[in-house]
Amino acid sequence: MSELLLLEGLWVKIPWQGLSLHPVQDVGFTLGQGETLCLVGESGCGKSMTALSIMGLLPKKSIREVRKLILLGEDLSKATEKRMREIRGNLVGMVFQEPMTSLNPCLTIGTQLMETLRRHKNVTRREARERAVELLERVGIPAAGRRLSHYPHQLSGGLRQRVMIAMALMCKPAFIIADEPTTALDVTIQAQILALLKDLQGELGIGLLLITHDLGIVARMADKVVVMYAGQIVETGRTHELFAKPLHPYTEALMTCIPSVDRTPPGSRLGAIPGAVPTLTGPMNKCHFWNRCPKRSISCTQGPVPLVSLGESRSVRCILST
């Protein structure tokens, strides 16, 4: 499997009221062709920030530091804004969380689809239109030709997310970043959209970086999993390994939060992790999960915990498991 994306040593720093916030600390992973990598973690753990840094789309005041960012053999860590614009939407497609608001309400579906293609590729209107119809059909939108002249408000949430996926695919990107693509949809639609993403990925051989907080989705979709907590990677692994034997107490705790018919007897309380993600003002000199960890001990606070590699794609950041 050839390497599509290589990310190493990514830091994001945001100056804030004289302090420096570190929403992403030393994150790195690789994504192969046709592979799905899931970035898991609760709100505010730095998942979306990581995705945005890859695209070079961080909010204005934040500072990105990255040791290595290589996409298809090209070093993007020092790429100019102009080059990044050529890459966005062309080599990398992006699907956002909110299909209801991610389409411009004043432009037709067709205009928005064709715009992306015509911006990056030298094609005629007719060719762009054909490609749009082809993709709309591919993502399962009936009467695709007629839909082109529709406005977003005429489409349901599920259809809009399909349009967003089609839009991300217009330029035949090498990989797609999907930031919680199904969170805003109801469960049946969610399953359809995920199945569609998986089909397309198999068919087109694109890499998929899927950001989610739902371990159910991870189990269905991912080849590799990266679990993040408070800006750091706490555990990585192939999906089946990670689910069979979670090494980090945080991963374990996440899994007990999923109610299941066999394991959760009626009337029992659902699992939850007490406490909240700590504020990330500078690197902490102890395990980030310490204050919420059921297995904590005094040795967890004796300095920063390193991410220890345990084999090809397996690693964990916990002194108890290494």
Binding site: F96, T101, N104, P105, E115, R119, Y151, A168
Partner: protein, 298 residues
């Protein structure tokens, strides 16, 4: 009611064009405004065909003939004549050209200036916003009539000067409203999505943000057009605007004021015309806002 219908029809709607038509037909204010404005526009365009006389031709034998509904009125001059014996209907017809010209060209200038400044301030924020907000404040501190007075005193009044002065002064509302609405739209998800699809800043401003401001823009365009037309009338009345013998409606009121006591129609007729035009434009603006209301779209 219309919105409920659109909800019910679900995914297979019979085209939004019919919906739009239904909304337009259902809006009486819009229809009334559009009808009056269209009528005035037709009159202005077809002025040489409609006007029975040359609007500049004086006939001192036939001064101050009252309009037909008056007992001394005559059908040869349906709206009577003015103090110099010029046919009032012809002058009124040609005057509509001046009012519309002033309205359209003034707004064209001020809309471009105001929206550009407003969108830039709203989108970039920070220092750009500070500078532009200062410019808006400076502009708001200057009374239009006073500036016009000074300019006309310096270079003399003419149609061109009136258009320029008003165009360069009436951009404040455009800037204020465009700035506020851009601030709202700027952080929208679809702007982020466009950026993620590789759009440049110029593209985002012109193709993503501007279409979303059109509803608001159209409302201010109509309001400002009405304001410009009234201001031109006011300036002409004060002798600072369009110069005689051009048949401007404001100037007609001004020229008629000395005959007001015994021949009141010389000011009521152009006054009523001005009132109708401004009313029509305002109704149209209200209608556009209702029809293109953002809450009607999801």
């Amino acid at each position: 009611m219309v919105e409920v219908l659109s909800e019910m029809e679900g995914a297979e709607r019979p085209g939004s064009r019919r919906m739009l038509l239904r909304r337009i037909v259902g809006h009486k204010g819009f229809l009334a405004g559009a009808t009056i404005l269209l009528a005035i526009l037709t009159v202005a365009l077809a002025a040489p065909l409609i006007a029975p006389y040359d609007p500049y031709e004086q006939n001192l034998d036939r001064r101050l003939i009252p309009p037909v509904w008056h007992e001394e009125g005559t059908w040869s001059h349906p709206l009577g004549t003015d103090g110099l014996g010029r046919d009032y209907l012809s002058r009124l017809v040609y005057g509509s050209r001046i009012s519309l010209l002033i309205g359209v060209s003034t707004v064209a200038i001020s809309a471009v200036i105001g929206s550009t400044l407003g969108i830039l301030a709203g989108y970039f924020g920070g220092r750009v916003d500070l500078v532009i907000s200062f410019l808006i404040m400076v502009r708001l501190a200057m009374p239009v009539i006073l500036v016009a007075l000074a300019v006309v005193a310096l270079v003399g009044g003419s149609l061109k000067i009136v258009i320029l002065v008003l165009g360069l002064l009436l951009w404040d509302r455009f800037a204020v409203v465009m700035r506020a609405t851009t601030q709202l739209v700027r952080s929208a998800d679809y702007v982020r999505a466009a950026r993620a699809a590789g759009a440049s800043t110029v593209h985002i401003l012109v193709s993503e943000i501007l279409p979303n401001l059109m509803g608001h823009l159209m409302v201010i365009v109509t309001l400002e057009m009405a304001r410009a037309i009234l201001l031109e009338a006011a300036l002409s009345f004060l002798g600072l605007g369009v110069q005689p013998p051009l048949p401007s409606w404001g100037l007609m009121v001004s020229e008629g004021k000395e005959f007001m006591l015994f021949s009141p129609w010389v000011i009521t007729i152009p006054g009523a015309a001005l009132f109708m035009l401004v009313l029509a434009i305002n109704l149209l603006g209200d209608g556009i806002r209702d029809i293109a209301a953002p809450e009607a779209r999801t």
